[in-house]
Assembly symmetry: C2
Homo-oligomer: 113 residues x 2
Amino acid sequence: MRELHHPPRECLELTQVLHALSDPIRLCIVRQLALGEALACGTFCETAPKSTMSHHFKVLRLSGVIHQRSEGTSCFNTLRRGDLDARFPGLLDAIVREEVGACGNSVWEEDSR
Amino acid sequence: MRELHHPPRECLELTQVLHALSDPIRLCIVRQLALGEALACGTFCETAPKSTMSHHFKVLRLSGVIHQRSEGTSCFNTLRRGDLDARFPGLLDAIVREEVGACGNSVWEEDSR
DNA sequence: TCCGTTGTTCTAAAAATATCGAACAATGTG
DNA sequence: CACATTGTTCGATATTTTTAGAACAACGGA
């Protein structure tokens, strides 16, 4: 398998990291990875097709949020916690922390387009 | 001017907040507002057309990041720091904090599409 | 070597976002 | 009232992002 590109720590951009984390599927992936274990791509969300998941992993990797390394036929993912904490202190903790806040209404309820 | 809709604190969604903050213009707005003052829409980014800015303010408002109140012909914006800190502790601080990290390379340098 | 597993890439299509000019609304001032 | 100021809304276009099927590549095991 070809060597995967990972942007170095100094090149991480906050806007790209935030965008990567602003998708529900990707946020879910990151939260699972935040538990610490390296997890293969296949261990997430069996409902979505593989190509879709592959896309999300790529977005996470290219924004610098995760590190991917292939081992055999699998691809193990880890959170780049050190790099993220160094560049954006407190960000990961704030995002991974479980929050409650249930509300049935949509943000777009009124005043939407 | 019509009363503007602001989602209540309990309805804020992390993914929407992150998406709102993942745009460079909007991030810039938020950082200026983080200094504490209420600022009119016109005080930001004179280069972009008003309709574009209006759109960005709307995204920020509907995601719950800012509060807008009209006063005369102006529209004053403030950060909803209390609500954001309550729902997503540490998030705003992490995002507003100035970071250094200069790197000429694009994240998409290799392995892009 | 022949399969099964795992994941990527290609491609197309759909959906969501962003941009911005033009028209409009609300307010304040001369 | 006429007019300037400030900002919103509408409409059209362009760009980006998401989704997912199909073909493919790499690896491991029988």
